[in-house]
Amino acid sequence: MLEYKNISYEIADKQILDNINFKLEAGKITAILGSNGSGKSSLIKLLLKNKREYSGEITISGKPFIKTSDVSILMQSTIIPDHFTVYDFMKYSLIGSRSILSKITTKDDQQIDSCLEKCDSLQFKDKLISNLSGGERQRIIISSALLNNPRLLILDEPTTFLDIKYQTIILNLIKELNDKEQMTILIVIHDLNHGLRLADNVILLKQGKIVEDKLATEISEQDLKLAFDIEFNRHGKNTFITNI
């Protein structure tokens, strides 16, 4: 699976990532946690960047990483034009990389329906994206990420800007995809509660460095103190404050 080896990355002499090493476990959910500016989004964004822009090596199944349809990466804010219907968006996402003269096939339509179905969004198919709520929109974006049956799904803050109800729905959806489709998932998230509850493995990031990489169940209060520079109320792990 995806592996980062000695990755360092700087923008204008500012060290964003410093010697990052980790390996994803296939079929598991790995969460990257860290405070704002810890470099967690950059870590993902490197996958969309040219190799020359960072040092170190990213590999997938032992080979140098190349973005293929096997890997789906959703960055935090995907801009979708107001006049797109859900179907337009799904259609463009599926056939965008094909020849401009190609037509959409019945099989394509079935694939779109099944991906929407997986995210419980088939009922929105003919609606305008602009008429959907934030949570519905996020589900559509996740369905679009499933179109090419990726083995690895990478999500950057999929629950930001959503209210609590939708956050839960999205996280359950991610869990479900992992369970039912055996999809490997890497998720960047700033909500500790959600991250720890959802993930099998957790990577704690602080100022561009990995401070901890272990099973979610093994993460201690001490680890979090170190990563986030904060004090906790003594109510146990599951009442960590949300939204740092």
């Binding site: 964004k45 969309l48 973005k67 293929t68 349809s69 789906s72 990466i73 959703l74 960055m75 804010s77 995907t78 801009i79 979708i80 034009p81 107001d82 006049h83 797109f84 337009d88 463009y92 996402s93 599926l94 965008g96 990389s97 401009i100 003269l101 679009s144 990420a145 179109l147 090419n148």
Partner: protein, 321 residues
């Protein structure tokens, strides 16, 4: 095309036909083209002057409008236009130099003009790497545009004797468009407008952000360049045979967006027709207001277009830049 678009396209076709018809019967005198007893002179006026200029007006309007829409989508910026960003100036400069150096290449002028336009695009692209904000790009375009304008003025001053008709040409003049120019324009524009209509079915994808496009396997840089190239080639047709006409590429898509949904495949046919209507209409209007003095259509168009843009900027708060 949805049903609403179809109805609007039919309406616009009728309007364009009407303008073309009036453009042929009106002028310094009223001539009925269908009258079999027309004098030789009347027929000459119709077939050698009014028809070529009407067709040239419609084609340059259509190609500029289509080019404008494509460049707006390619750059995801509704204030972009091949004239505002300096592509037309670049095209004009190279066309001017070619006319000066190798006049025999005249039929291929659009291809050379295209090279000029694409060079300016390259320059804008390099600048956009520094700062990709749309407003910044527009300002960069205006700056580059004025640099090239000064070079055009330099060339036409130095070689004034050899480039006698450039004054009219750089202003976009329909007065002396020749039937031969019109033939070339028709050839180029049919191919290019067809390409524009075909790509419009898919081009909306560029309205998504580059990270997302990368994720779904679209090489967005190459795609955007390709669409921009089609846009610049479209505007090069008009630049080569009629001259620079500003604002059509900005105005036509704007009006189209008010009429139909924002999908590329609805916008494109409507935009193309509005472009033809705008330029042919401006030319007709100009001839009715100033029956003796020929005003280059580029001047009329800039006046109307500039006014519209000012109104747009004052009234609108949802222009995406």
């Amino acid at each position: 095309m949805d049903n609403r678009t179809k109805r609007i396209v039919i309406g616009l076709l009728i309007l364009l036909g009407a303008i073309a018809f009036f453009s042929i019967i009106f002028g310094t005198k009223l001539i009925n083209p269908l009258n079999p007893n027309n004098s030789v002179i009347d027929n000459q006026i119709i077939f050698e002057l009014r028809m070529p200029r009407t067709i040239a007006a419609i084609i340059s309007g259509m190609t500029l409008a289509a080019g404008g829409l494509l460049i707006q989508i390619s750059m995801n910026n509704q204030l972009a236009d091949t004239s505002i960003l300096g592509f037309q100036s670049g095209a004009t400069l190279v066309a001017l130099v070619i006319m000066l150096a190798i006049p025999s290449l005249y039929p291929f002028l659009p291809l050379f003009a295209f090279i000029g336009g694409i060079l300016v695009y390259g320059l804008i692209y390099l600048i956009s790497k520094k700062n990709s904000s749309s407003v910044f790009l527009i300002v960069a375009g205006i700056a580059i545009s004025s640099i090239i304008r000064s070079m055009i003025n330099l060339v036409s001053t130095l070689f004034a004797e050899n480039l006698q008709s450039t004054i009219a040409w750089t202003n976009g003049s329909l007065n002396t468009v020749q039937p031969n120019d019109v033939k070339l324009m028709i050839m180029y524009s049919i191919v290019l407008l067809l390409v524009a209509l075909i790509v419009s079915t898919r081009v909306d994808i560029l309205l998504l952000d580059d990270d997302y496009l990368h994720n779904i396997g679209v090489n967005s840089q190459r795609y955007r360049l390709l669409i921009a190239a089609v846009a610049i080639l479209l505007s090069a047709v008009s630049v080569s045979f009629v001259g620079t006409i500003g604002f059509v590429g900005l105005l036509a898509p704007h009006i189209a967006r008010r009429l139909v949904s924002n999908s590329g495949y609805n916008l494109m046919p409507v935009t193309i027709l509005i472009g033809g209507i705008l330029v042919a209409g401006c030319d007709l209007l100009q001839r009715l207001i100033f029956p003796i003095y020929e005003i280059p259509v580029g001047i009329t168009m800039s006046f109307i277009g500039g006014t519209y843009l000012v109104i747009l900027l004052i009234r609108s708060n949802n222009v995406r830049v």
